[in-house]
Point group: C2
Chain length 294, copies 2
């Protein structure tokens, strides 16, 4: 099988790392506008050969893992270039606009709209890790618009990588992902900004920061080139989640100002049930499985 | 040496776990209003014997690791009960009010105001872990008010546990810790609340949550009984940090509403330098040391 990755960073690189481990006969082609990343991917053994869109006629499977603004621009061209029996998957964090852009494309049946919920705050080929997708959720949108045989090929590959599949419509995907992913990133970025602004002249102060600050602010390391287009494409949902978040923070502040410490206790106590919710996350389940295997 | 721990949960339990590993001859006494915790600490081997305030006359070193409201109430009584050559340390996340309360205590010289920046989101004796304090910062306030020989005894013990010491005045401590710790907790609690409120009727939606959400919301698992009194004692500073955080979030939202995506990119890009700041954190340094040792 000829597997192409367009955009060979953390997401694409981790994907082919797993593919090569599970399917040693697969040949992996890398396409990237960043020549340095391409060379790095080659020397790391993530890809077997560098390629261009002209080579896409050889492809059986294409993963397009580029920022969501580039996705809208490149996916139509990629679909134009692949053969009829090739499946093209994306990995974008937004789905509605991407599905709209491709709605009337003559090769729409060759496209499978995917959002694998996996990643780290790092980027580039050197950030690729084996097993990134194991136990993770892959959200697939508008599955019915993809040719059946091509659905099968993609699902088989996702199965090899140990992914859990969930089907969702693009509008629901974008609304929910705004809460469980996009809002977390903004909350983290603005926490980082607030602390940096305040402590500008007191560098030593970060000695006072513990692992709590570190985990809450971790996502503020994320790539702006990846995230600005996500916020653009999911603007309305993100604005709504931000308004609710700001409202909740303001209400908490008002409790403090009014010295209503019972109210503060109650707010935290109610939110403590996040413990049970987090226990049910794919990540936690995977860890529990890993532990039980030992 | 007779070591007493008042409040045998995560903080006190981890402390004596290390003490027992480093000083096998030390005898550890546990005092707790929660009889179940005391029994658990005994069966886990964290303490050698259960004790009461009446036994404090035997103490050489006392760690008081209880919520900060209980600290204000209990520390004066504990100081009353210890012998003249005993040092009493607290582990509270606020320092100003606690130092004020003890300012005129006849045994003020027996007290050392400490804030070890260490912990997890879990609590109780079973949450105690070995090595929790290694490489972590312990902030000591008003060191000059503690008898010299007692400073020495405490610092020797902290040194055995591998802690880094920083000296600070209580007012500065509370102002800075509001940014690097207290605000992170509120940001996390309110993120959890926002998502739970929205997704109340759609439990499956948490399948969409990845490790990003998980780490950003981790602190929302923290104990309200511990945190409500911290916010109470550090109210003015916390209100100020919250106002700045809300202001930054509102400004980010306005950029989105105005579709100023370059502005959004710039905000994130500037905050990305949190990467370098986090690299300098004690936690990160410790991990780098651990790796280089392997």
């Amino acid at each position: 099988m000829n597997i192409f990755v367009v955009g060979i960073g953390l997401i694409g690189g981790s994907f082919v790392k797993d593919v090569k481990a599970k399917m040693p006969t697969a040949k992996v082609y890398g396409i990237d506008t960043n020549e340095a990343h391409l060379e790095e991917a080659l020397s790391l053994g993530l890809i077997d050969t560098k390629a261009t869109y002209a080579d896409l006629s050889l492809a059986d499977f294409v993963l397009v893992s580029v920022p969501v603004d580039a996705l809208q621009r490149e996916l139509p061209k990629i679909l134009d270039a692949v053969p009829d029996d090739c499946v093209v998957c994306d990995a974008g964090s937004t789905k509605q606009q991407i599905c709209e852009v491709l709605q009337a494309h003559p090769k729409r049946r060759n496209f499978l709209a995917c959002h694998p919920i996996a990643g780290t705050e790092f980027s580039g080929p050197s950030a690729a890790v084996l097993g990134l997708y194991r136990g993770k959720t892959n959200i697939i949108c508008e599955i019915e618009k993809t040719a059946f045989a091509l659905q099968e090929r993609a699902l088989e590959l996702f199965g090899l990588l140990g992914m859990r599949i969930r089907y969702m419509n693009p509008v629901a995907h974008d609304r929910h992902i705004a809460y469980v992913s996009h809002l977390s990133h903004i909350s983290s970025f603005m926490l980082g900004k607030t602390v940096i602004d305040k402590e500008r002249n007191e560098r030593d102060i970060f000695d006072m920061a513990g692992s709590g600050f570190e985990s809450t602010v971790r996502l503020a390391k994320s790539s702006p080139a990846m995230w600005a287009p996500i916020f653009e494409q999911n603007r309305d949902n993100v604005v709504e989640t931000l308004e609710e978040y700001i409202q909740n923070l303001t209400a908490f502040k008002e409790l403090l100002v009014r010295e209503d410490y019972e109210g503060i206790y109650r707010e935290m106590d109610k939110t403590n049930r996040i413990k049970d919710i987090l226990k049910g996350l794919p990540e936690a389940k995977k860890m529990a499985q890993d532990t039980s295997k030992q």
